[in-house]
């Protein structure tokens, strides 16, 4: 894990891993090298069993990456907790106790890579090491016994591991989130992302300002837009230093907020009912399916005729698109729930209403949140369409006016702002979903799908 070459972890990396994980602090370089040479690499799939309880224990393992779980086979009456092994931790110590049997079973929770060290080899090398030479076999046994009696039994955390202890407490969704962010920075993803942006901006810069391609002559250049955007004194009156910029954003956000809240508040219940009640579905679904394909732009005239002012038609149009996406996904979510959950709940004495609350709603949540993410997206889409047609403020309005008044840099600023705000709003929905479905995020974070 330490260096990013998973194909062939160099001997140095292996050596480092061993040094960090083994409790013998005073091993000499030679011994470490010998151990590093002898270590074998094994890869496990998620869910693969490394060893079963009761099998012969002859090897010690160090987690290079991935997560493993040690599950004690509970003898009835004894409380038994399972331990989670993370990168840097070593387990399977019983291998050093000579001819022991595994007390628990080790299963990979995520795809994992382990270093395997033969127990007798470690014993021999450690005993031969001048630094620990004084340590008699009995001392070693005592050390091992202390390890065995520690809470994780067959496991101790290495020096490199987090101070959590071997019985790992439940990670909260937030911790998983942070863990993921940290992982993300260690992966090539952020650099690829930057490269992606650089490609787009580079293409823009080249085609408009350097090559001056024929159709791009009218386009505002990259530097012009950036200059305008971050200028204290913008040529066309809109930059991050002008209040009017934020007013456009706020007006759009307010419309999105109201429309999205309405669409969620109505769409989720309607979708739940569509999925849950046959009668309701028979009445409503054909109508729903007929209205759904009508494009939002087709609704514009009616919306303006029906509703007073310019604010209400915009909110109405934005709401409409969101509503259909939310309701449809919620309905699909209800129908995706395995029938046995409802049967089981019925067996356990739940009433129809209780089944609705405890099975249908939580069971549909993953789909509901997929629907909500689509719904924020289409909300922005129809908002801009609506704002371009009527309205006084808003990013869509800004795009339209800057087009008609040939203030092209402002137009591009509004577009980018839309992109950023849209991205943020759908991330917000995603976060809300993760928070509400911690059962699912945790489950996914552990990489195990049934």
């Amino acid at each position: 894990m330490a260096d990013g070459s998973p194909e062939s972890p160099g001997v140095d990396a292996v050596r480092h891993c061993i040094e960090a994980a083994l409790p013998f602090k005073a091993l000499t370089g030679g011994t470490l090298d010998a151990l590093a040479q002898a270590a074998e690499c094994i890869d496990l799939f998620a869910g693969e069993v490394l060893y079963e309880a009761g099998s012969a224990a002859d090897c010690l393992y160090i987690v290079e990456f991935g997560v493993l779980r040690l599950e004690p086979i509970a003898k009835t009456g004894h409380p038994a907790a399972s331990a989670v092994m993370r990168p840097g931790q070593a387990f399977g110590w019983i291998a050093l106790a000579e001819q022991g049997l595994r007390r628990n079973r080790a299963v990979a929770v995520t795809p994992a890579r382990l270093l395997r060290l033969c127990g007798s080899l470690i014993l021999n090398l450690v005993r031969a090491d001048p630094a620990v030479g004084r340590m008699s076999l009995e001392d070693l046994r005592a050390v091992l016994q202390a390890i065995q009696l520690s809470p994780g039994r067959d496991a101790v955390p290495g020096h490199a591991a987090s101070p959590v202890g071997s019985v790992v407490k439940k990670p909260a969704a937030i911790e998983i989130g942070l863990f993921r962010v940290a992982q993300w920075f260690r992966s090539p993803a952020p650099y690829m992302m930057l490269l992606g942006y650089a490609l787009l901006l580079g293409f823009w810069y080249l085609s408009v300002q350097v090559l001056k391609l024929p159709r791009f002559a009218q386009m505002p250049g990259l530097t012009a837009v950036l200059h305008e955007w971050f200028s204290k004194n913008p040529t066309y009156g809109v930059s991050i230093y002008t209040p009017v910029y934020y007013q456009h954003i706020l007006v759009s956000l307010r419309r999105i907020g109201i429309a999205f809240a309405l669409a969620t508040g109505l769409g989720v219940p309607v979708g739940l009912m569509l999925g849950w009640s046959r009668v309701f579905k028979d009445y409503v679904f054909p109508l729903f399916e007929m209205l759904r394909p009508i494009p939002i732009l087709a609704w514009v005239p009616l919306a303006i005729i029906m509703l007073p002012g310019s604010e209400l038609p915009i909110i109405y149009l934005t709401f409409l698109a969101s509503f259909f996406a939310t309701a449809l996904n919620t309905m699909l979510g209800v129908r995706s729930i395995d029938a046995s959950y409802a049967l089981a709940a019925e067996c356990l004495g739940a009433s129809r209403w209780q089944i609705f609350l405890h099975v249908v709603v939580p069971g549909a949540l993953p789909f509901i949140f997929t629907g909500l993410q689509i719904s924020v997206g289409v909300a922005w889409f129809s908002l801009v369409a609506a704002e371009m047609i009527s309205g006084q403020f808003g990013l869509g309005y800004l795009i339209n006016t800057s087009y008609t008044t040939v203030e092209y840099p402002t137009l591009v600023i509004a577009m980018f702002t839309l992109g950023i705000v849209g991205y943020l709003s759908s991330s917000l929905v995603r976060l809300a979903g993760m928070w509400l479905m911690s059962w699912r995020t945790r489950h996914l974070a552990l990489g195990e799908l049934r």
Binding site: T76, A80, S82, Y341, E346, R440, E448
Partner: protein
């Protein structure tokens, strides 16, 4: 949760049960004049070829669907029969499903406490306390706040059985609960199930394909005929309880296995040559 009170309960009397299906116009007889007496506190193992209609029988007992003839009584009370073809679903007969039906959005503790809370038989607090005690008794402490997606499939099955037992049911209806488990986990499950049974005395109606499982767990093994389903032979397993895995290598075990597999094979062959689809009748 009353520890041994279950022993006197759970007598299941199936009388002349008939179940028909008309999936695509054609009539299929799934269960045909099936009669079976299950003794209170017994582990009754039902074996039979795939798709023979065992699950139809279980569903009729649970009340998931009705019968087209005959009756089922539980401790003298009619569940279904003339005039009331479909039994009411209720917590006195709890099904443990083949693929497991723990609610993935509830922790194991919440799952186990679900029944009494829904029935308003216990306050949330007592239900959680009882559930926690039950988990401790079964040696599952430490997993209370984990979600089903985070624990092994073997553990999930055990939690699901605890969830059923939490309601003090008269009968547990198990539909191949250990089918998807590997052999080693399965053996651990078997011992845990027997241990739980000795503790609670709940009657168990257990459908399986696994002959070894049937003989190891059951007081009796009922071999069903190929569709339509009807008991072909009832074999009393005279290996004394409590049993442990040593039983598997005993001579008596092998004799019984040979006897039952001979009967079973005949039916399986019949079903196979007719080309019946597994799970064709749900």
């Amino acid at each position: 949760m009353s520890a041994t009170a279950g022993a006197a309960r759970g007598a299941l009397k199936i009388n002349d049960a008939v179940k028909l299906y008309e999936p695509s116009g054609a009539r299929v007889l799934a269960v045909d004049h099936c009669s079976l007496d299950i003794r209170p506190g017994e582990i009754c193992m039902i074996v039979g070829p795939s798709g023979c209609g065992k699950t139809s029988l279980l569903n009729a007992i649970a009340g998931f669907h009705g019968l087209d003839g005959g009756s089922i009584h539980l401790d003298g009370r009619m569940l279904c029969g003339p005039g009331h073809p479909q039994a009411d679903v209720g917590p006195d007969r709890i099904v443990v499903f083949q693929n497991g039906a723990l609610f993935p959005w509830k922790t194991t503790l919440e799952n186990i406490a679900f029944g009494p809370i829904m029935q308003r038989r216990m306050t949330k607090r007592t239900a959680y306390e009882t559930a926690r005690r039950m988990m401790a008794d079964a040696g599952l402490s430490g997993h209370e706040y984990e979600y089903p997606g985070e624990i092994s499939s073997g553990l999930r099955r055990r939690v699901e059985i605890l969830r059923a037992l939490m309601n003090d049911p008269s009968v547990l209806l198990l539909d191949e609960p250990y089918r998807a488990l590997d052999a080693l986990t399965k053996s651990v499950m078997h011992e845990a199930l027997l241990e739980t049974h000795y503790r609670t005395g709940t009657t168990i109606f257990f459908i399986t394909h696994d002959l070894e499982e049937a003989i190891f767990l059951g007081h009796r093994v009922v071999v069903m005929t190929a569709r339509p389903c009807r008991p072909k032979q009832v074999v009393e397993i005279d290996i004394p309880h409590p049993r442990d895995y040593g039983v598997l290598t005993s001579r008596r075990f092998r004799e019984l296995a040979a006897e039952i597999s001979a009967v079973l094979e005949e039916e399986a062959l019949k079903s196979f040559t007719r080309g019946e689809k597994e799970g064709g009748v749900q």
